[in-house]
Subunit: 525 residues, 2 copies
Amino acid sequence: MNQQILLNGQWQPSQGQKSFRAMNPATRQPLDEDYPVSPWSEVDAALTAAAAAFETVRDWPGERFAAFLDAFAAGIEANAAAIVAMANLETGLPVEPRLKNVELPRTVSQLRQAAAAAREGSWALATIDVKPNIRSVFGSIGPVAVFGPNNFPCAFNSIAGGDFAAAVAAGNPVLAKGHSSHPATTRLFAEAAQAAAEATGMPPGFVQLIYRTSHEDGARLVSDARIAATGYTGSRSAGLVLKEAADKAGKPIYLELSSINPVYILPGALDERLEGIADEFSASSLMGAGQFCTNPGLVLLLAGRTTDAFIDAVGARFAKARPGTLLSAAVEQSLRAGIDTLRKAGASVVSSSEAEDAGSRCCHPNTLLLADGQAFLNHPHELQAEAFGNAALFVVATDIDQLLAITRCLEGNLTGCLYTHTTGKDDALYDRIEPELRQRVGRLLNDKMPTGVAVSPAMNHGGPYPATGHSGFTAVGIPASLRRFAMLQCYDGVRSARLPPLLQDQNTTGAWRLIDGAWTQASIA
Amino acid sequence: MNQQILLNGQWQPSQGQKSFRAMNPATRQPLDEDYPVSPWSEVDAALTAAAAAFETVRDWPGERFAAFLDAFAAGIEANAAAIVAMANLETGLPVEPRLKNVELPRTVSQLRQAAAAAREGSWALATIDVKPNIRSVFGSIGPVAVFGPNNFPCAFNSIAGGDFAAAVAAGNPVLAKGHSSHPATTRLFAEAAQAAAEATGMPPGFVQLIYRTSHEDGARLVSDARIAATGYTGSRSAGLVLKEAADKAGKPIYLELSSINPVYILPGALDERLEGIADEFSASSLMGAGQFCTNPGLVLLLAGRTTDAFIDAVGARFAKARPGTLLSAAVEQSLRAGIDTLRKAGASVVSSSEAEDAGSRCCHPNTLLLADGQAFLNHPHELQAEAFGNAALFVVATDIDQLLAITRCLEGNLTGCLYTHTTGKDDALYDRIEPELRQRVGRLLNDKMPTGVAVSPAMNHGGPYPATGHSGFTAVGIPASLRRFAMLQCYDGVRSARLPPLLQDQNTTGAWRLIDGAWTQASIA
């Protein structure tokens, strides 16, 4: 008996003939609930309901969306233990500290930050030119489709995560497409979302959930006339199929695809603090079995004795650490394939951990690979293959010129890190590398691994293609992430009473507004 | 003998075997200069030069780009008479007031506004979270291709107009592709640009001009790895070909395509001020022979006696006004084709002016077409065909429900206007129409025609697809238009001395920055 889908305000049976089950990756056992693959007729019905919901809410003030988001956050907290337990069962991610102490609180915090942003309104960059009476603001865009990834069952969940929070805070209904590896976790979130929607008077169809569609119907969904925009986090191959469909229909789609997050560790830094950096790198690389968008998958080094020592030091740590459980058999398989691609292109395995219980759970040895700079330049595409999981490739360049040539081959990435000597010994190298790297990454770090992604206004969890679909937007960080799901709405000579609240002379929420070129929270006199 | 192209800092002969000539539309005579169609080898060389120029300028402060833009503006002013005379010769647009008193001053003003924005930096939305030391800012993206349109030989010229100014102010080299209908005007601008670039120490390749390429090479250009983004203003068909190529390569492309700019004139407004609105509409519709992106091409009315009188009043004005000269034989031809499409879909011509000198200049009778609401609903696609020029379609709906149904069929447009009774008689109708129209247009106007596009911070010259490629961006209005040609660059834990000027603790330019959630011009203590 299939689990029900959330359609037009009701949990209801799917008409789908196909179904799927998730798996417990810690035991390799299938879980016992069946989830439906929705046929197009259901997606179609959901789209119609979302469009109707949007007609109802499109003129609502931010306060209404904030109330829903706050109620939803409270509902999640009230059911946190069950959600965390289910997420652990479906993903193998540890209950503590990961799910209970980090990811679930982050999820709730994001929803509350989004609520605060919706309530206050500064996110919308209200801009008023008083004398000509031209006023503009980012306003809601319409129903948003959200495709969640496998690796954050809570914080990026399609019906509770960052894209969901941003889309709702900007005033849009969300049609969530859950990830097939954690449907029950997604269902628990959707139950809390639906309860919050009812409690706060949101129309049916404002939040909806389907678990799975055919690839063809996914492409049809993102390009449908009733969808205004899409947020997608996941694999590059699936994402690019959706992008093609959305692009063709002129629909914005915000993709967060693969990223190998290059880390440069310069000689002075190694001279100074080799062991510390080896600790930091190994922790960042193997944390969560390496299943982070910002996992440092590529380390760039200059040839030399300290570099050799560093490789040994990391190799020892990789060999010693117990391989983490991977999210699914699919991740295990794709990690193996990614490592194969790297090896075929000339990388060799220099350290590999034991994984004695590989048969009983989804896992893979911690794998450290090594290639020289010339090999990278010979096969830059293959040696940038993402090996999503607990693996990393070290590339050792003969000199700075080769390192720069490698840098110029890098695809767009979410992050890039530079570790340098604290008092300046690496500064000349830094000054040559940084400008090349800067253009290729969304977030540049110094002396810091990329795996922490603070939900903070200045955060950029984005980057040049193919890390994402557009380098001007971020998926994390409020208020900026809301603007993905908004359109610029200008009012020219529109009568005062007809303006939306954020553009009226009286500033009722204290939102920051750009009035005649100056930012202010004041009303217009 | 072909005119030279501007490549890598030098005016040089094209290797192209093909050439073209522009025409004087006021006489239908070809002009006597030959301009080259550049082969791919030249585009390729220009791309390499642009990439090299970007390596030089990417760390420069905004002041450097401002100095160039200001020098360029002064250079244009110094040669204004020649530019205006040439633009008149190539486009048939009147010297006064259009070119000399409106468009050229606007062009110079845009360049100076862009310079001021580059110098000061608020456009970049610098955002600083002090305690976690996460800082982000919009930074330059790389070489930008600009394709200019036919209808603004100055203010949207590929090497002097709004896209050019925005791309440069954001710190990017520009590779301009001139419009084939006014190459000599473009050459004069490029000469001034190159002189300014030399005078202000910009590297060769920072500003470059080619006049024409094959369609295939145009698509190759916008998707080339060395191009970071493209700005295009022009026809929908050519624009969508470029969009497809750019999308596939993951390159941002900002398109300003066709728009028919619906105008609703409600019964109370007609009761109150029929003659005045007929004057306003006719002036806006026929100004510049209707060759504006924001020309009001579609008027939506409710059936009734005043509506009939209004149609007669506008028809009389259309019949009486001398048809303006069209930009080219191609525009003349496409206007005729657009009107044919409308007629075939059920519109009838209710008023047409004399155009007795049609043989000797490019022109077309002022044409007022009429269709009923049901015809529109039967052929919504065809009856939204753009008839770019001095033509307009009036659609008369039987009642508000039909008017709303028509509104729901509207494609994305740059603008939408609502004329209503001044003291409230139309308010109930307004409240039903506005939410539907709002989602379909970038700029909503009250009691005002759409043809004036002020260069003002709150302006939105953008709108939902297919009016443009992305409803979150505007092509006019500074500072917002700069952000199209920028990427979000985050610095996480980056050492203070390594930060770009806009993100350092000391605020040297007085830029507005979002520090810990509050906008301020202050430095960090």
